[in-house]
């Protein structure tokens, strides 16, 4: 088992919650004919807070956090540099949107935030898909991160949405949860029939208590929605806990190729 990388768990999950909120904000504001739905300033403040806390947390995984600004120098090749840049731009846009929010908020800031947010998702997905981790050396991290963004975005957006948009958010939340559950359950099983390191990763994920905590919490969220039909105010917190558990599994249980040198690949 590798390190759980808690700072990276917090950064990736909170940044994806922020990006998901922006996506859901765009969906809602486009459907809204009036001056804007809910407390737009509070919503953008939460988006900026999620991203700000995530970025602050990410500094704790560095040996030398005060030199983190230098992580921007290798934009030409390193996806991590691109991730840092995109996350910085997203955070700046979110702060600006929170300060200037009126009515529906600025559409320019919203679309720029969406673009920056999707760039963060792609860059994060590429950063955490290195050749040393064959099980996730593909599009899976991006898919995982996108699902997390939609689940958390729909969940937390329910805090700000009017009654007319609650059913839409509940539908998006349920759909993302079902897709997330299917992906989370099938992917480790598919790894079991892959190469040796992929098989070991599948075994490690399926044998990790946190993996089952993630699955159980996602299923619990689905159960609550099945009963309530709308998203209760506490449910996004449960979904956030689920995603944190799942991300900890992603970082700690994905097997590195070097762990099997001398063995069959």
């Amino acid at each position: 088992m590798q390190s759980m990388e808690l700072p990276l768990v917090l950064f990736t999950v909170l940044s994806q919650a922020a990006i998901g909120l922006v996506l859901m904000n765009a969906v809602r504001q486009r459907r809204c004919a009036g001056p804007g739905e809910g407390n737009v300033r509070m919503e953008w403040t939460l988006i900026a807070a999620f991203m700000g806390v995530g970025i602050a947390a990410s500094l704790f995984h560095l040996g030398h956090p005060l030199e983190s600004y230098r992580a921007l120098v290798h934009l030409e090749k390193a996806w991590l540099s691109r991730e840092v840049l995109a996350a910085g731009i997203f955070f700046a846009l979110a702060v600006l949107a929170a300060i200037t929010a009126r009515g529906k908020g600025s559409p320019v800031l919203m679309w720029a935030s969406i673009l920056a947010g999707l760039s963060v998702l792609l860059a994060s997905g590429m950063t955490y898909a290195p050749p040393a981790l064959p099980a996730v050396n593909n599009a899976l991290p991006t898919v995982f991160f996108l699902i997390s963004a939609v689940v958390l975005g729909a969940g937390f957006a329910s805090w700000f949405a009017g009654a007319e948009n609650q059913p839409l958010l509940a539908r998006i939340f349920v759909t993302a949860l079902v897709v997330g559950l299917v992906v989370r359950l099938t992917v480790p099983c598919a790894w079991l029939s892959g190469s040796e390191v992929m098989r070991q990763t599948g075994m490690a994920w399926l044998g990790a208590p946190l993996y089952w905590v993630h699955v159980a919490l996602m299923a619990a969220c689905l159960g609550v929605l099945w009963k309530n039909r709308t998203i209760p105010v506490w449910l996004p917190i449960l979904a956030l806990a689920a995603e944190l558990a799942g991300r900890a599994v992603f970082f700690s249980q994905t097997i590195h190729t070097a762990m099997n040198i001398g063995g069959v690949y």
């Binding site: 992580a71 390193a78 991590l80 690949y265």
Partner: protein
């Protein structure tokens, strides 16, 4: 082909004595737990004999190094002779190279809070000396070669037990252990 220094690991000769790994530690006086060169025993699934066989491995000084490509602060450079050098003073300790190298070459130094890895003893190469590990090997199982001038022979790039990754193109070459002679009485 451009000059590319590489380790030639002769598993037929290697007796798993760890002298290469000890020489590396002795030369660089690394912190406790920081190991640049490992000696890996081949599993019985690959080498099913009573005799054991080993791969002595450090950084493979790849043609297209993952560590260099993923490092956000450009702490890695590749020299004209193919040696991949980590400039520790530039490193911010993000661990991205450690997570990304398929061969586990970069390691974290908990005292410096930065990554580090085998430097191919480039300062010794520049002085006309062999790397410490190569010089110390008592069976000459570890050799310094230049892939640009290495004659075709019985060496391979991706033996069983070594992760295959064409994209990064590791420079290390291997001579496989022979099947031991069975004497029945």
């Amino acid at each position: 082909m451009k000059k590319q220094y590489a380790f030639l690991v002769d598993s037929e000769r290697c007796i798993g004595c760890f002298t290469c790994a000890m020489a590396c530690r002795n030369y660089y006086q690394q912190e406790k737990g920081v190991v640049w060169r490992h000696v890996y025993p081949l599993s019985e699934e690959i080498y099913p004999h009573r005799e054991r066989a080993f791969f002595s491995l450090a950084c493979n000084h790849c043609e297209n190094p993952t560590c260099l490509n993923v490092c956000p602060v450009e702490a890695y450079t590749k020299r004209e002779d193919g040696v991949v050098v980590h400039h520790q003073e530039k490193c911010i300790g993000c661990g991205n190279c450690i997570r990304s190298c398929p061969y586990g070459a970069p390691v974290y130094n908990p005292v410096e809070k930065r990554a580090e890895k085998c430097s191919f003893c480039h300062e010794r190469l520049d002085a006309g000396l062999l790397p410490a590990c190569v010089q110390s090997c008592p069976t000459e199982a570890l050799k310094l070669v230049d892939l640009a001038t290495l004659e075709p022979g019985n060496h391979v790039q991706f033996p069983p037990g070594f992760p295959k990754n064409d994209k990064v193109n590791p420079s290390t070459r291997f001579i496989l252990p022979k099947v031991p002679t069975m004497v029945r009485r």
